[in-house]
């Protein structure tokens, strides 16, 4: 596990506890926001044939950690991607709109599928 992955997992765990303490994940909001993911990433709504990586079976921590990691690769001030790797840059753009609570809702919704 890389250092960044470890950090992401730790942050994700903190997110779980925070969200639990706060009372709830919002599953309606998670459903709506996570539907931005299903255009490219297979979920259990879809058959998995030939598309990008499936998110089926990924845990809350994995998804939340990845979203946070991607979001950090977008410079919110300049509104530009700080990555040169096209794939990382693409995901940075897609992760950046979400608040931390929304990323938790997305991760929670997808991890329950």
């Amino acid at each position: 596990m890389t250092k960044s992955r470890l950090l992401a997992c730790c942050l994700a765990l903190a997110g779980v506890l925070l969200a639990t303490d706060a009372g709830a994940y919002d599953l309606n909001n998670g459903r709506l926001l996570a539907s931005n993911c299903t255009q490219c990433h297979s979920t259990n709504v879809l058959p998995k044939t030939g598309g990008y990586d499936s998110l089926v079976g990924e845990s809350y921590s994995e998804i939340y950690g990845e979203l946070r990691e991607f979001k950090q690769k977008f410079n919110a001030t300049t509104k530009t991607c700080t990555e040169n790797d096209p794939k990382e840059c693409l995901m940075a753009v897609h992760a950046m709109p979400y608040t931390d609570k929304e990323m938790q809702d997305i991760a929670w919704y997808l991890s329950q599928r």
């Binding site: 779980v16 969200a19 639990t20 009372g23 709830a24 994940y25 919002d26 599953l27 309606n28 909001n29 459903r31 709506l32 926001l33 539907s35 931005n36 299903t38 255009q39 490219c40 990433h41 297979s42 709504v45 879809l46 058959p47 044939t49 030939g50 598309g51 990008y52 809350y60 977008f74 509104k79 530009t80 991607c81 990555e83 040169n84 790797d85 096209p86 794939k87 840059c89 693409l90 753009v93 897609h94 950046m96 709109p97 979400y98 929304e102 929670w108 991890s111 329950q112």
Partner: protein
């Protein structure tokens, strides 16, 4: 108890939003949704209404019917590759079989003529023949219009000999609605004489698929170089930029125009005023008359400064666009923007100004969201979510997010130097208050982000994955 189960237990208890006892008047009012138009937006709305209704245990209350004049959808996305012979129309054809069998969606093949929004009735020609009849057995209480675009060719004159073209519009196929138009343009390209030229004219914005004309010019330039030696392609753009690079994906297309496609002649600030057809032997030439779109050219590289004309054998004229005729007639002038072209909607739900009527996809007026299949798919989900929230008495999500992503082929598999390469363009949007005028709308969260570096084979490979996944999200 596992942590996950514990959290789930807390969640269900605290939020109470997933396990619904539905209360209030809405519980007694089943949704009967009619979706007119089974393209990227319409099919997605129908599917997600049913998928999410099932997850909410509300599926007994949600009936969905798609009405479309065709029982097959031909994807506009990737259809430029039909022009180059890399794909076929069959490769891009999707049916409604999964939507019917897996999700219980009803399908009616018909051309819709009119809609009685007050009483929930849709009239039209069943199987596209005969007289208008009532199409829906029970009245709708929600109508989703996902009818796409129509063309407004009034901005130029067309004069071609009727002895040559029974239908004059076949002289200048737009191929901007995939299917017979794509085949028509493909055949004209295949049959043209090597050394003659091709033109693609770009409409004024907004139009469906902003990168599309630039992509088409790129792949046709590649195809012509191999298949029609000596032929050039003119790309006629009413827009202009300070440096002469394309306004869309300036880095990727700018690089491709300057370094790869030497037979591509890119003309900015050029507005089409007339197409005049003529015959020379067996060759069907068209003369395109062009004038400067703005009296002030922004550059000396390629911005048109005075009227000119180009003579081509194949004229791919993409006319100015507007919301489909049916959507404009159903909404009426009060439901359209000031120009009477696009549907005014609340971008949190895609509700139009007409009660019970929602509009999604390329027909809508949006300050920032582009017109394209990928984002139409996401708008459809926001719309479906809003309708289901209303049914289940859950507050509307007041800051929905949508995204646009578009991969574009820049070279073809005919290119011996580069092989098939692609680029991409993406952006994300969120509903909020626009600081420029204090009006709430979908705002661009990111700028338009192009794929970094140069067009690449890796992007081309990713393009296949993107297209496969997106179409599965709509039709599987």
């Amino acid at each position: 108890m596992l942590r996950r189960e514990f959290v789930k237990y807390l969640t269900a208890g605290a939020a109470g939003q997933f396990i619904l006892p539905v209360s209030g008047a809405s519980a007694a009012t089943p949704l009967n949704v009619v979706v007119i138009g089974g393209g990227m937006a319409g099919a997605t709305a129908a599917k997600y209404l049913r998928v999410w209704a099932r997850k909410l245990a509300l599926d007994a209350l949600v009936s969905v019917t798609i009405i479309d004049k065709s029982d097959q959808y031909v994807s506009n996305i990737m259809s430029n590759m039909v022009l180059t012979g890399e794909k076929t129309i069959a490769n891009l054809t999707y049916t409604y079989a999964s939507l019917k069998t897996k999700y219980g969606i009803n399908f009616i093949k018909a051309t819709v003529s009119s809609v009685d929004t007050a009483n929930g009735w849709v009239y039209g020609k069943l199987n596209n023949t005969g007289s208008d009849i009532l199409l829906n057995a029970t009245p709708f209480n929600r109508l989703i219009l996902a009818t796409g675009i129509s063309f407004d060719p009034s901005t130029f004159t067309l004069n071609v000999p009727s002895t040559v073209y029974a239908n004059p519009w076949e002289a200048i196929p737009h191929a901007w609605q995939a299917g017979t138009q794509t085949t028509l343009l493909r055949n004209q390209l295949v049959n043209m004489t090597a050394g003659n030229h091709v033109a693609v004219t770009i409409p004024v914005s907004p139009y469906r698929c902003p990168p599309g004309p630039y992509e088409r010019a790129c792949v046709l330039a590649d195809w012509l170089r191999v298949k029609k030696p000596g032929s050039k392609i003119y790309l006629i753009d009413p827009g202009q930029t300070a440096d002469g690079r394309p306004p869309v994906e300036p880095n990727n297309f700018g690089y491709a125009f300057a370094n790869i496609h030497k037979n591509l002649v890119y003309v900015q600030n050029a507005r089409l005023t007339a197409v005049t057809g003529s015959l020379a032997g067996t060759t069907k030439f068209k003369t395109l008359s062009l004038v400067p779109n703005s009296a002030t050219p922004l550059n000396t590289v390629n911005a048109l400064a005075s009227p000119t004309a180009v003579k081509v054998e194949v004229a791919n004229v993409i006319p100015k666009m507007q919301a489909a005729d049916l959507t404009r007639s159903v909404l009426g002038p009060a439901g359209l923007d000031a120009d009477g072209r696009w549907a005014v909607v609340d971008e949190r739900s895609y509700k139009s100004l007409v009660p019970k009527v929602y509009v999604i996809g390329d027909s809508i007026k949006s300050a920032n969201q582009p017109k394209a299949g990928h984002i139409g798919n996401q708008q459809a989900k926001v719309c479906a979510d809003a309708i289901l929230r209303e049914l289940s008495n859950v507050a509307l999500y007041d800051a929905p997010v949508t995204n646009s992503a578009c991969f574009t082929p820049v070279t073809t598999n005919l290119n011996s130097q580069y092989g098939a390469m692609a680029s991409w363009l993406t952006a994300t949007f969120r509903y909020g208050v626009d600081p420029t005028d204090n009006v709430s709308r979908m705002l661009r969260v990111s700028t338009n982000i192009e794929s970094p570096g140069r067009p690449s084979k890796d992007n081309f490979s990713s393009m296949g994955k993107w297209f496969t996944s997106l179409m599965q999200d709509v039709y599987s």
